[in-house]
Structure formats: structure tokens, C-alpha cells
Amino acid sequence: MHTIPMNRDQFLLEMDEILDLPAGTLRGHEKLEELQNWDSTSLITFMAMAESNNGVSISPGQIVTCSTVADLLRLAHAESSSS
């Protein structure tokens, strides 16, 4: 069974894969709008990953409020710790 990416480093590595970036690229401060591969496919994959790993449902509306990768991490954390 896949483990929950609660660890910040693990989460960033998974986001590297989703965005097709070399492992270790993302640090968290990156702006989503400046990431070339941040599109509907990666957004859907992020939602599916959050659901699959944390068992929680994140809506696109919540994602729209995020401006950086770290915001996505906080969203996944907040959702999983509140669930």
C-alpha cells in the first residue's frame, strides 16, 4: 500500500514526478503559474494523489486559492489532519 506523503520531502518528490521535473527540483516556494507543466492533467493527478494517499477530497476551488507548491502541501496537510 502506498504511504501517506505527510513528509515535506516526500511530497515535493511526488510533485516533481507529477510535473515531470528531475527529482529534487522543487523546494516549495515555486509559483504554480510559473511551472510549465502545471495544467489540468497535473491538477487532476494532484487531486487523485491526495485522495489516494490521504483519503480526502480536494476540490479545484480549493486549489485555485493556492499560489505556490508550499500552499498545495499545506492544503494536503490541512485536509488530511482535519479528516
Binding site: T45, S52, S59
Partner: protein, 624 residues
């Protein structure tokens, strides 16, 4: 030693097989795609996805699973919910795309009218007819105008049931209504050869309703199938496409001890094997044997590869509860040699490629050894629990077929009788004497409608005795069959041991007084039987009848067809100068007087001159 790149690719391919971790596939899809695109010899295809909902994920996942099957798709995607308009109004982008395959990705959301409450049965039936007619008009237009194979989703079930269980029992209930629509879609599929059902009704149940449809994806993106369920959907569609391209497996090679029965026959003896209804695990082995037997009945060739003394191994099949019998197996290797060697020998004996074989063994060490030594062989990770063996084979869709034809059902018999033929071969000092003893007869003629399914199957399946390895869709085969600008020949071969079925196909394009052989193939199960001579004799006769003076043969070398490199030279063709690179061209001048090449095959039918009329099939497009 495998390179780093090969190892990475094999790891990726492993991740796309059982046990699937959906999250890994979603996350790693980009790197997977990149690696899979590095494969050579990918078969190109054009797929139009006409969606009743958003199809981006369907396309992305389908691409991945097709690449894993060696098929490189290019896609056209309709706009959201434009599946009907794109066809009705002949969207030029779609028409110019010229798809080989059209996938109509509709779900229950696209049903235009559900019955009213308490509606009379007759009115409900009328609604079913109207809904089916709406789809039928699309299908017919696609067949007629685009000539593509259609893969049509049937309908899944709505997640909510306002009428509760009445939805399934009342004729106006939605579950009942959808069952009627699905039955009508299936009926259409049974009577139209280029129409295949993608059974999402089954898939949604397999995945689970709650997982199949997720309201957040529907309301946010209008995705009618959740991203995780889309993986299952894409695997299913890829299996259908794979079968249409003849890439399905042919042969199941099985270990014995703890695979077909519990226990070790050499140690425990036949009477102590765990097999049968009296033991919970024995019942699971019995059910797996039943599943294997059902595969054999539908044409999958069975073989045994076991580390055992041969006599001990054979005795296992005399167990009173054994559903499988010795005669169910076309090849039987029970000895102490390494299994990869035995599997190679099985492939040679049956005259099939290693890539046609699936190997099932409960022992992970043997599985790994075979997978490492014979990467072409499919070695599913079946685990050690017999109760899951059949399920794993099902999930992998190894033996998916787009149509069952009589030749499929007879396949095991062909291969078993081939073993008898080979045994007979040793009794003769002269090979000609052996061929004469077979009392062979051949039926060779222009393509007939009744054989078109089998011809398409062979075209898309045959790799070794195949001069050009050109693939044709069934629509293209139908079009060629009725085009007077082509010479088409099929060949069936029979002998005293039985019917080998339709085993050879030839397509030649007539250009003035020359015929250019675009395709010539033959099943390897009739190698060295002079069938290629019989086909050539028939071709020459047809050329003479049509006033054709020259035959141009094409040989396109591939990784698998080196056995026919000297084919044209052996028939007396001369190489055309200047053709040193790329496809080789060979020329044969048709003589006025010709002596047949075959001495051991008697022709029983010809019908060689007039191409059959397929005018009754109005959906056939003319070939550009």
C-alpha cells in the same frame, strides 16, 4: 547484460501489469511515456476519441497502455460532449484525421431520455428504439464515410437510484432501461464486424460504483469516470485495440506442482494430490483447471513446462478430479532442464513466437528466471495462491479477441495434429515421401466474405513468414477484396490428420501489366509443406488469366521475418538493381507456359478469376 535503459523500461512495463498501483501510474505517467516511446518497431495507429464527457485522462492513460503493447497512437479528441456533432456535421478536422479507430466514450450521462414514471412497456420500448437509432446513425456514418473500426462504450449505471430496487424491476426503471440499451448495442455488435463493445457496464462493477464515478471530478471537470477508474478503462480499451492488431497471446504454458494441483506429484503420488471438492484448496485448483480448460475451448493452446519425471507428471492428469486431461496439451515438457530451454523448445515445436506465450508458475524463482532469460514471454506475477491465478490472467487481458472464428476454436487440434505430423516425419528416409504421405489438399481462391475476419486476423498477427509485415484494418481488407485493381488470394490447407484452416494470404496491386505484391504471409504451422509453392502457382495462373506479364515482390526486412529473406530468390525472382537500401524489390516475368511448383498439394477449388462481389455490404468505403 541489460543496459540501464532496458532495466528502467522493464521496470516501467512491470508497473503497468498486475498488481497495479494506480497512484504510481498517475504520478509517473510522463516518465513512463517518455521511456516507452524509446521502443523500436512500434505499430502506428490513429484513434479518434469522441467524448460524451471530458476525455483528456482517457487519452493520456490509453496512450500509456497502448505504448506498453507496442502500439504508438496519435489522437484526435472531440470537444466536450461533441461526440455526436463531430460525426453528424462531418467536422473536417475529424475527416482529415482519417482515424483507424473511433472510440465513442459515452456513459449513462449521455442517454438523452429516460422513461417517465409508470410509463407503459410499449412506450419504454419506443424510447429504447429511438435512443439506439440515434447511436446507430453515428455508427453507420463512421463506417461508411470514415471506414474506421468503432469501439463503443456500453452504459454504466447511475450512482443514485431514486426508485431503489424498482429501478431494476420496473420496465420504466433506469437500471432496466440501461440493460435494454446495452442488449441492443450488443446485438448491433454481433452483426457488424467492425464494431466492438467496450464493456464499461462490467468495468464499473469491477472497479466499484463508488470508485468509478466521483462527483467532485464530474462537477469540476465533467469527467464521467474518475482518474483512478480511468486506468481500468484504458487497460480495457488497449486490450481491444491490441486484439484488433493481432497482438493477443496464443499459448498458455503451465507449471504443474502447486499450479494445476496442490502437492508435488513425484513425492506425494497422484492419489495424494490436493485437487477436488473435498478440500478447500483442492476446490481452488479445480476451479483454476476449469478456467484453463475454458481458455483451451476458445482456442488458447495449452502446454506444460514442469520440473518432473515425464511419467510422474503425466500421471497427475489421471487423478479422478482432474478436469484437464493429457490430450488437452499440445506440447508437454516435463524434465529437469531449465525452464527457459523448455519454453524455447515448446515455441519451436508449435511454430509460434516466444511473444505469443504466457507462462504461469507458482514459484517466483522460476518466474523471474524465465522473465529474465526470455523477455518476450509474458510472465504474470500470479503469486502463490491458486485462488488468484485466473483473476490475474483476466486482468492482464492476454487472450482478448475481437471476434471468435471457427479457426480459433480448432487451433488446439491443429497444433496437436502437428505433433503427430512431426512424429511421422522421422519414419521416412526422404522428405518428399513424407510430404506425399500427408495427402495434402489446398483450397486457394480470391478473398471470400466468409473468410475476411480470419484474413484480417492473420494479417495483423503473422510476423515470421510475412514478406512486408504490412497491417490492414478489417475495413481496408473489405475494400481491397472488392477492388478489381487488386489480386487477392487466401489458402486453406488440409491433410490426412485434419484441417489446418486458412493459413496463407496474398495481396497484389495491379499496375498496368504488373502486379506488385504488397502482402504475402503464411502461418508458420504449415512451414516446409510447399503451401507457399501452391500459392505461387495460383498467383501465376491468375496473372496469366488477367494478362499480367510481371510480378514484383517486395521484401521489407524486420526483426522477425528473416526466414523469408530468400523467399523470392527461391521462387526464381531476380533482384531489381538499385534496391540495396530499404525494401528489397524482386521481379518475375510471367511465362506463357508454366509448370506448377508444388508436387505434393492437390488443389480442390479455385474461383481464381472473378473477385467476389461484396456489393451487398453498402457500408464499405471505396479505397483511395
Amino acid at each position: 547484460m541489460a543496459s540501464e535503459a532496458t532495466t528502467l523500461r522493464s521496470e516501467i512495463l512491470k508497473a503497468l501489469h498486475h498488481p497495479i498501483v494506480v497512484a504510481d501510474i498517475l504520478r509517473k505517467r510522463q516518465v513512463m511515456k517518455r521511456e516507452l516511446l524509446k521502443q523500436t518497431n512500434l505499430v502506428p495507429t490513429r484513434i479518434a476519441i469522441l467524448g460524451g464527457s471530458t476525455t483528456t485522462e482517457v487519452k493520456s492513460m490509453l496512450e500509456l497502455f497502448l505504448l506498453a503493447q507496442g502500439i504508438a497512437p496519435t489522437f484526435y479528441e472531440s470537444g466536450y460532449n461533441r461526440y455526436s456533432e463531430d460525426v453528424e456535421f462531418e467536422n473536417p478536422d475529424l475527416w482529415n484525421f482519417k482515424p483507424n479507430i473511433v472510440l465513442i466514450h459515452t456513459t449513462w450521462h449521455n442517454i438523452s431520455e429516460f422513461p417517465e414514471l409508470l410509463e407503459a412497456d410499449g412506450a419504454v420500448e419506443n424510447r429504447v428504439r429511438r435512443e439506439v437509432a440515434r447511436f446507430t446513425s453515428l455508427w453507420e456514418k463512421i463506417h461508411t464515410e470514415l471506414g474506421a473500426v468503432i469501439i463503443q462504450n456500453n452504459f454504466d449505471l447511475p450512482r443514485l437510484r431514486p426508485l431503489g430496487n424498482l429501478e431494476a424491476s420496473e420496465s420504466f426503471g433506469r437500471v432496466n432501461f440501461i440493460s435494454s440499451l446495452n442488449a441492443e448495442f450488443a446485438k448491433y455488435g454481433r452483426t457488424h464486424s467492425r464494431f466492438l463493445i467496450n464493456d464499461i457496464h462490467y468495468l464499473s462493477g469491477q472497479v466499484g460504483q463508488a470508485e468509478w464515478f466521483r462527483s467532485n471530478y464530474w462537477y469540476s471537470f465533467h469527467m464521467a469516470v474518475s482518474p483512478t477508474a480511468t486506468v481500468a478503462l484504458a487497460r480495457n480499451v488497449a486490450a481491444i485495440v491490441k486484439s484488433a492488431y493481432g497482438k493477443s497471446k496464443k499459448c498458455l504454458v503451465l507449471d504443474l506442482d502447486n499450479t494445476l494441483w496442490g502437492g508435488v506429484i513425484g513425492d506425494d503420488g497422484m492419489q495424494n494430490l490436493i485437487l477436488g471438492r473435498d478440500h478447500p484448496v483442492g476446490e481452488a485448483y479445480l476451479d483454476f483447471q476449469r478456467y484453463v480448460k475454458s481458455l483451451k475451448r476458445r482456442g488458447v493452446i495449452l502446454a506444460v513446462c514442469s520440473k518432473n519425471d515425464a511419467e510422474n507428471a503425466k500421471e497427475g492428469f489421471s487423478h479422478p478430479d482432474s478436469v484437464l486431461k493429457l490430450e488437452d496439451f499440445s506440447a508437454f515438457k516435463a524434465n529437469w532442464d531449465p525452464k527457459p530451454e523448455n519454453i524455447r523448445a515448446i515455441a519451436a515445436q508449435l511454430n509460434i513466437g516466444l511473444d505469443s506465450i504466457v507462462f504461469v508458475d507458482d514459484n517466483p524463482v522460476e518466474r523471474d528466471f524465465v522473465a529474465e532469460q526470455l523477455p518476450e514471454v509474458a510472465v504474470p506475477n500470479v503469486g502463490a495462491d491458486v485462488s488468484s491465478f485466473a483473476e490475474v490472467l483476466e486482468h492482464e487481458h492476454y487472450f482478448e479477441v475481437d471476434k471468435l472464428v471457427q479457426d480459433d476454436l480448432n487451433r488446439s487440434a491443429y497444433y496437436s495434429s502437428n505433433a503427430e505430423r512431426s512424429a511421422g516425419e522421422g519414419k521416412f528416409s526422404d522428405y518428399g515421401e513424407f510430404l506425399a504421405s500427408l495427402e495434402m489438399t489446398a483450397e486457394i481462391g480470391s478473398f471470400l466474405p466468409v473468410y475476411l475476419e480470419r484474413i484480417t486476423q492473420l494479417i495483423n498477427r503473422t510476423n515470421q513468414f510475412n514478406l512486408t509485415t504490412r497491417r490492414y484494418t478489417s475495413a481496408e481488407v473489405v475494400a481491397i477484396a472488392q477492388d478489381p485493381g487488386f489480386i487477392t488470394l487466401y489458402g486453406r490447407l488440409g491433410d490426412k490428420f485434419g484441417d489446418n484452416g486458412l493459413v496463407s494470404v496474398l495481396i497484389g496491386q495491379i499496375l498496368d501489366e504488373t502486379v506488385q505484391l504488397d502482402l504475402w504471409l503464411m502461418s508458420c504451422r504449415v512451414l516446409k509443406r510447399e503451401m507457399e509453392f501452391a500459392m505461387f502457382d495460383a498467383l501465376v495462373e491468375q496473372c496469366q488469366a488477367r494478362g499480367i506479364r510481371k510480378i514484383v515482390g517486395i521484401y521489407i526486412p524486420s526483426k522477425k521475418n528473416s526466414m523469408v529473406a530468400a523467399h523470392y530468390a527461391s521462387l526464381g525472382f531476380t533482384a531489381i538493381a538499385g534496391a540495396s537500401e530499404g525494401p528489397e524489390l524482386w521481379c518475375y516475368n510471367v511465362p506463357a507456359s508454366y509448370s506448377p511448383r508444388t508436387h505434393y498439394i492437390r488443389r480442390t477449388a479455385d474461383g481464381l478469376v472473378a473477385a467476389p462481389s461484396l456489393a451487398d455490404d453498402e457500408s464499405v468505403p471505396s479505397r483511395a
